[in-house]
Amino acid sequence: MKKTPFRRRFLTSISVLATLAAAASVTPTAQANDRLIELSKSNENWVMPGRTYDADNYSPMAQINTENVKELRPAWSFSDGVLNGHEGAPLVVNGKMFINGPFPNRTYALELDNPGKIVWEHNPKQSASARAVACCDVVNRGLAYWPGDGKTPALIFKNQLDGHLVAMNAETGQTYWEIENADIKVGATETQAPYVVKDEVLTGTSGAELGVRGYVTAYDVRTGEKKWRAYATGSDKDLLLAKDFNIHNPQYGQANLGQTTWEGDEWKIGGGTNWGWYAFDPGTNLVYFGTGNPAPWNATMRPGDNKWTMTIFGRDVDTGEAKFGYQKTPHDEWDYAGVDVMMLSEQKDSTGKLRKLLTHPDRNGIIYTVDRENGDLVSAHKIDDTVNWVKHVDMKTGIPIRDPEYATYMDHKGRDICPAAMGYHNQGFDSYDPQKQIFLLGANHICMDWEPFMLPYRAGQFFVGATLSMYPGPKGNRQAAEGLGQIKAYNAITGEIKWDKMERFAVWGGTMSTAGNLVFYGTLDGFLKARDTRTGELLWKFKLPSGVVGYPITYEHKGVQYVAIYYGVGGWPGVGMVFDLEDPSAGLGAVGAFKNLQRYTKQGGGVFVFSLGGHGPYDDPKVGEYDVN
């Protein structure tokens, strides 16, 4: 094993070949990106969150299907030695699996032929103070891969909780470059999976609960050089708004709103951090992502629409310029951070016109579908009929028509607000089955009471200003504190929920669907489940060592289809267990909502891999054995 610890105080330089000087100045081309696209289409790989740039978590493989899924058995497993919440998923590239855990963000490479031997480990030494400014457990949502170009080696990218973006040699695990993208001293952290497009690696930040002003930054994969940075609030220049920003939808708002929809300089501490997922369309050359909640949560403290937090952005990936932006929840009053997954599809709209679409199940309980070429709003349906803060979305203006009964403001306690701050959907990476044209959604079913309070802003300290009580939604069991989640099949054109099933806890991690008519997902109480995509019928499940907050992936190796998933309960819903909290309002209200989770699972951390009959690398028991010669 080549162990590559990074001790910043002692080991301050990483030597690489001198010839890299020339490589570092190579003019970027799309060649490497084309290879990444090709790699993503192979069943043998899972090279990015979402599998391909469509970000649909869908595999055309059908070796495992509704007829034989009951024969799924464990093929192998790996414990990464860290007990916090394991969000996201591993990557699989060219016969290796790359695994990354929560803080301290150790990364492992395993050979699929013999995963019992660790090929390399990257073990950063971070300041423990990073943990103190993490909002909701010390999670990490995964890695990014760039295939190299013959001069610069293939690279694996990860974000560290302490705000560093690290490029590692995919063959050796050695640090290739490492830069600072967020400063924990002002409360900014990194929990997101980086995202590679062309020869850039994109990353956002976390920390809106500490008043961090959000931004997305693109760095040159070869050198770490900053290419562009786009803020969520502030001047049009800081926001990188294109001259024709929202030209197709001026009703969304255009220029000069990133400051004028705030009072004074509050936009400087206004949140809007992007810690969720990306998608990319090579045809539009736009990268898509969402900005998060405004800060603080206490809405009375920030009069205005608070542009451009809570926004679906389509940005030119070369320049960062925003071509369109649609703010879903103006003047957020409930922490409906808008960073959830963006899934791309091509479907006929209700008039029969074939369109390039983006579908986004938002934390606010609305599933938005927009035309990803121009930002036109195509549909906006409630993910569940119990959403009550909004009556409906005006399809001409895009404005949510709020129900004032569920508003939150100072000197008032809002009650029975649905969804809760955790949303009816959160960071789970969901899937889209293009054959059936349905989205498979892992959902929350949680409502809340909300009472704001005033507090000062101090850089690096929590800046929330609300006390929350969360509990199951109307379809759950509030006495038992169960019935906190759902799994749903949704048609974005008709709005039809084809089927839905209640779950004991939130389906936090997301779904993966396949051409085998299957949808896989993990549960907080520790099951990997498979349902029939067409009917929702539960066909198979397996109890994992710990609860799941990540999403499944699938890949083929030597003719065998595997399904892999992280186990390791935690994240926001598991924060009470992770930090041993008992006050129901602690963990920003999560402790009370998930008080019964501890009766079903305990902490753990690692990956479990399944195949039909458990076939795999150790079918031959001699594989991996000690060789006396």
Partner: protein, 106 residues
């Protein structure tokens, strides 16, 4: 959806003996998002709440020095990163600790 002027959107309503009076700046109806000053600018205060936080009982009393700290931190990170990248591109060696990056003509 009604596009209303700043004055009318801020106008309040008092009802007494069947008479309707405009009494700015108190909002006349609960905030539902439909009374816009301009496209993308539709916020209004809850009934009885001030248009502006500053100077009201809900003034957060922000300290400009605290509000400036994030940008200062970003500028400092950018400066350190630029030094690292410049040396990496020039010499093919990545050095994280900027204090150990050799100074020179490059």
């Amino acid at each position: 959806m009604k596009w209303t002027s700043l004055i009318s959107s801020a106008a309040g309503l008092s009802v007494a003996a069947g008479l309707t009076l405009f009494t700015a700046p108190v909002a006349m109806a609960a905030y539902d998002g439909t009374h816009c000053k301009a496209p993308g600018n539709c916020w209004e205060p809850q009934p009885g709440y001030p248009e502006q936080g500053i100077g009201s009982k809900y003034d957060p009393h922000h300290d400009p020095k605290e509000l400036a700290k994030q940008q200062e931190a970003e500028d400092q990170m950018d400066e350190r990163n630029a030094k690292r990248v410049r040396y990496f591109k020039s010499w093919g060696q990545f050095i994280y600790d900027v204090n150990k990056i050799p100074s020179g003509p490059k």
